[in-house]
Symmetry: C2
Subunit: 455 residues, 2 copies
């Protein structure tokens, strides 16, 4: 057989025309979202004030296996997709591993990550519903950038609540979003009741994702033509991100490969949920049994040290309750944590699959993660985002295990994005000022103590 | 016929295996490089102390039409190439033009630009010759980043003299280069005689490309195992960059297209010289006659307002003399100029072709260039580098002419890179503090007065 190419692209005709809904193949569904007041399960209609209607239906849909990607979204995807499936020949050589390492690279677009896949879907459905604006929050900035781009394309106004510490550290991310016409507000802000309340308690807070979510929801609720959007955690997000896994599977088929191990970084689950989608289908239907490994930061270890419990999705406690692996909605990762993956909870779908043994998870300190990322940058010539470095780390660990055992396993990992707006973290790594923080059990207990009492 | 895809990629088999040397098809050659002391034409051997030997031979080679791309360089190219040829459907729609706009996008790699194409060639040949290190200069930072990446790959040490004003404004560019192991020195520095002399004259100077070149050459001359490299202007650079035009032509053939107009930004000529290469061959050999348009900054207008004269390639006046369009080696673009395209001269090959009427050139103020770039970002979803915005501007002008005349011309332009490390310039554009500077004739005269007297 001829040598496998460095990069495998699908043609535009080969690109998926439908998203895949993992829930349709799950033996057991995750527990339903609950109204935090009544503790009753919520219906799609109950969410209409928050999200646009089609997305609410998708959120609740556990039976439709494939959902058509609207033509306008397909056209949008074609501007930056398909993303390449890349064989990491140079990394393999450097590691001296018999493993075959592949990565699906989602960073070749101006948002710098896979986030654009779901942003396109949300902006499109909002436009279709006749809405005129959206709100959202952003931490590291990838999601805010992605939604800014999608809103510029579909003609919607956008307000982004950017976690204050990130707003201060990343003026360039802000400038990219402004280039696409978005309005950026540092959170907590004095533009919302929740923001004002948090500022009253702690005027110097650097903010958190959970707090920015609360503010974005509050603002959207004040305007009938506006809805809120979230870039991770939700079922509707995983659905749109399934494009990653669907493309990956087709690309691997084209070169006669199938992964033994799939590795992804995990914060709220948007990337890993997308990457693993088509392979999880094989697993759920008994066609194949690849290992699926989530890699999360030791400083925000929701899978590995969180509780599987009902919790709020935001700090302000205005969202529905979702059952998920969570560190508690009050949990904020320590200030030295670089990059994203700082959400207190985890996608309910991934949480259920993890709980039922379909997935594994590890957590790792960021200095080790950056060791892996710099090695990857030097060998594969792509500078990864801090989030992606977690997946790189996980893939390298698996490749080194293969080196020990001599097994030539096929590893697929998700390189979610590029680190061009995260160079401050790389500078800290280079000058030795990057530090790790692994929360003590006592520190974690504070978040658990705040969990809502359900049943 | 089916709709032309948004993006056209070559397969790895279709990728060019040879570079194309435009000089082999030029009716007349550009005047030879001269030894600045004797004013005698230089031979390849005369350059051996400066560049590695194979590159010196390439520099002087006006007869070999095709030069094999070494297998190691082909392998390196496959890590980030082929670059896509993209149909700008959204931009066309926005402009309401009957023109078909294509762009060759070279920004999907960590250096953020086409510069990596020549960096790979230079690092490879240096390694082959048994050298252990290279030096270079960088302005906007793209070339320094590209060479850092190539040196990490081929195992060479690298010292980059970074124009001081850029060093201060772009700490993140520096951090990327350091990730790849390069040593970055702000120029002028006290590590060289030339740097010390310039600092003695003006301790507060922000530096210039010409000065950084002098320092990089001086350092390389002090070490037998070290050579100097330059990322533009030289024939050896245009040769390596011909990969852009060769790929573009094959990609256009695949979709049944041929450009009526080719537009590129021009600073030293590396990108435009590469993009136009395969099409200029058609022009030189009478097979086709596309218009070729260089777009340069009004603040550094070497084609449009320079003299076609022998000049030094650096401020320190230690390089050979080249006949080219030049503003004089003392010329420094005004401090408000954002991004690259700030070199005082222009590729001797492009200068000759322009002089002989094979090309056109226009110059434009940066505020107009950023208008074009932001329009492009919003429609095509890629945020261009300030340099690339010049080409975007030129392409839009041609498309608008088509709108007036109703002609459906095919326009190809070079999107050389992304603006992720240039957000300060975009911030100035957004907040209204970006200003233009068009040098007066009197200001330009200062540079011309310093031109060396030849014949």
């Amino acid at each position: 057989m001829a040598k496998i190419p460095y990069k495998t692209y699908l043609t535009e005709e080969e690109m998926p025309k439908q998203w895949y809904n993992m829930r349709a193949d799950m033996k057991e569904q995750h527990d339903p979202m609950l109204n935090p007041g009544t503790l009753k399960p919520m219906k799609a209609e109950d969410l209409y004030p928050v999200f646009c209607e089609e997305l609410c239906r998708q959120e609740m849909d556990s039976t439709t296996r494939y959902i058509d990607i609207p033509e306008e979204v397909q056209a949008f995807y074609k501007m930056y997709r398909p993303s390449p499936l890349i064989r990491a020949y140079e990394l393999e050589k450097k590691l001296g591993t018999p493993a075959k390492i592949y990565f699906k690279f989602e960073g070749n677009n101006t948002s710098g990550s896979h986030k654009l896949n779901a942003a396109a879907s949300m902006a499109y459905y909002a436009k279709e519903q006749g809405l005129t604006s959206l709100t959202t929050e952003t931490g590291a900035g990838q999601w805010g950038t992605a939604l800014s781009m999608a809103c510029a394309h579909f003609g919607l106004d956008l307000t982004v609540f950017m976690v204050k510490v990130s707003f201060q550290q990343k003026p360039f991310r802000k400038a990219v979003m402004e280039t696409y016409g978005a309005n950026i507000i540092p959170s907590p802000s004095d533009t919302t009741n929740i923001g004002r309340a948090i500022l009253a308690k702690d005027p110097n807070t650097g903010g958190s994702l959970g707090c920015a979510i609360s503010e974005a929801i509050e603002l959207s609720m004040a305007d009938d033509n506006c809805r809120y959007t979230l870039g991770s955690v939700l079922n509707q997000v995983l659905l749109a991100q399934s494009i990653i896994g669907l493309e990956s599977k087709i690309a691997m088929e084209k070169i006669g490969e199938y992964p033994d191990i799939i590795v992804g970084c995990a914060g709220g689950g948007s990337n890993l949920g997308g990457l693993m989608s088509a392979f999880m289908q094989d697993k759920l239907t008994g066609k194949a049994d690849p290992r699926i490994v989530a890699v999360e930061p030791a400083s925000c270890p929701s899978f590995t040290r969180g509780k599987y419990a009902y919790d709020f999705c935001d700090t302000g406690r205005i969202t529905p309750l979702a059952r998920m692996y969570t560190l508690g909605s009050d949990f904020i990762p320590s200030a030295n944590h670089a990059g994203g993956l700082r959400y207190h909870g985890m996608s309910p779908i991934l949480s259920k699959l993890y709980h039922d043994g379909y997935m594994e998870a590890i957590s790792v300190e960021q200095s080790k993660v950056f060791d892996a990322g710099v090695l990857f940058a030097k060998t594969e010539q792509i500078l990864p985002a801090p989030e992606s470095n977690h997946a790189v780390y996980g893939a390298i660990q698996e490749a080194l295990k293969c080196k020990e055992t001599g097994e030539a396993k096929t590893i697929l990992f998700g390189l979610t994005g590029t680190g061009y707006f995260d160079m401050k973290a790389y500078m800290q790594y280079h000058d030795g000022t990057m530090t790790d923080h692994v929360p003590t059990d006592k520190e974690l207990q504070i978040g658990f103590d705040g969990l809502p009492k359900v049943d």
